[in-house]
């Protein structure tokens, strides 16, 4: 693998993982809020 491909792989991989972590957290918060809302009603 040449250096540019490796750099782009690291960047692309980093971006995907960073957004994956954010989406995961957002998903869990959404589920928690939905659960609380349903409990109230």
């Amino acid at each position: 693998m040449d250096s540019i491909t490796l750099a782009l792989t690291v960047y692309g991989g980093g971006a995907i993982i960073a957004f994956f972590v954010v989406l995961l957290i957002k998903g869990i918060f959404f589920a928690l809020k939905l659960f609380k809302k349903n409990e109230k009603n």
């Binding site: 693998m1 040449d2 250096s3 540019i4 490796l6 750099a7 782009l8 792989t9 690291v10 960047y11 991989g13 980093g14 971006a15 993982i17 960073a18 957004f19 994956f20 972590v21 954010v22 995961l24 957290i25 957002k26 869990i28 918060f29 928690l32």
Partner: protein
Amino acid sequence: MDFSLLGKIFQGFGTLFDSPMNILIGRVVLIFLGMLLVYLGKKGVLEPLLMIPMGIGMTAVNAGVLFLDGGKHGTLFLDPLASEPSHLMNILQIDFLQPIYTFTFSNGLIACLVFMGIGVLLDVGYLLARPFLSMFLALCAEFGTIATFPIAVACGLSYNDAASIAMVGGADGPMVLYTSLILSKELFVPITVVAYLYLGLTYGGYPYLIKLLIPKKIRGMKMPPAKKMDKITSGEKLAFSVIASAVLCILFPVAAPLFLSLFVGVAVREAGIETFIKLIDGPILYGSTFFLGLLLGVLCEANTILNPKILLILILGITSLLLSGIGGIVGGYIVYFFTKGQFNPTIGIAAVSCVPTTAKVAQKSVSEVNPHEIILPLALGANISGVITSAILTALYVTLVPMLK
């Protein structure tokens, strides 16, 4: 009086004049450079917490060289290259800083302890309030970390050394130390020293980059009031730290010590365990910062640091940091244009993860033009995302580069 006898009595001078010319000049320059670092630390130009122990260590180690067995030159501080077990056991009982170096520095523990302290200082609520915006800016501000890697390879460095020097663009000292310890054992001293010197310069240098790239009118712009966000509770922040730690550790076990250190700091803070917060925020963070500075200084012995690659490392380090700063500002401009001028691009520079320096630099640059404009919450969100993306990129480099062998 015989001069060789004088040289044996005052061995600092004796070894100086017994050295090759490049080492002699190197030692003298490093003695005065150490004094300069102490002065700049005292004046607040560079970070005093790190530069004062580092500067005095650098001066002392280059002055205190003596003749060892067989006429070899050495010091009684530490030997960073000792690895053979019986030699190491011997050195541990002679060199006074060797135990701290061997048991905390060369295995990355000190980097993890500093990272734990950073974790306690982080309020991830700023990140969780605007996660996508913060992560986008942070990824833009990693431009130097990515672009410097192929540049360094083109300049003749190996993939391992190139990845270590590229990490300077992440502007996170513990991360550079961790990467270079794993990937670049022979060059980790010069790379880490250069990284910490440059990180000390961000506070002085980045404001000029902001002034160069962002017109005064845009810098001082008034942003519309933020939409009311749901309050992020400490329970949510705690959940974030536990889940993010687990996910990142399962993805990259090789960088798991870094992730654990950062998120255990966040978890302790959000759980509100005051005694642990005081312990990590005080003795652990400041104790490890002090010994990190002292060890970095002591490692700057002319024989260790005068590597033929040092000039290249100096150029690549500043390139990486500069490109990351430019990347952050470009990210800020992208958001500025997407929001039709409703976002201050100065916030972009805060995504370079030097916590909390770059966030303070961004706020200071804005306050100089418009004292009533507060961008710090947004800047801190980007700043904290920067720490997390830097840790992810570190993990990717230390996982991928050894696989290419």
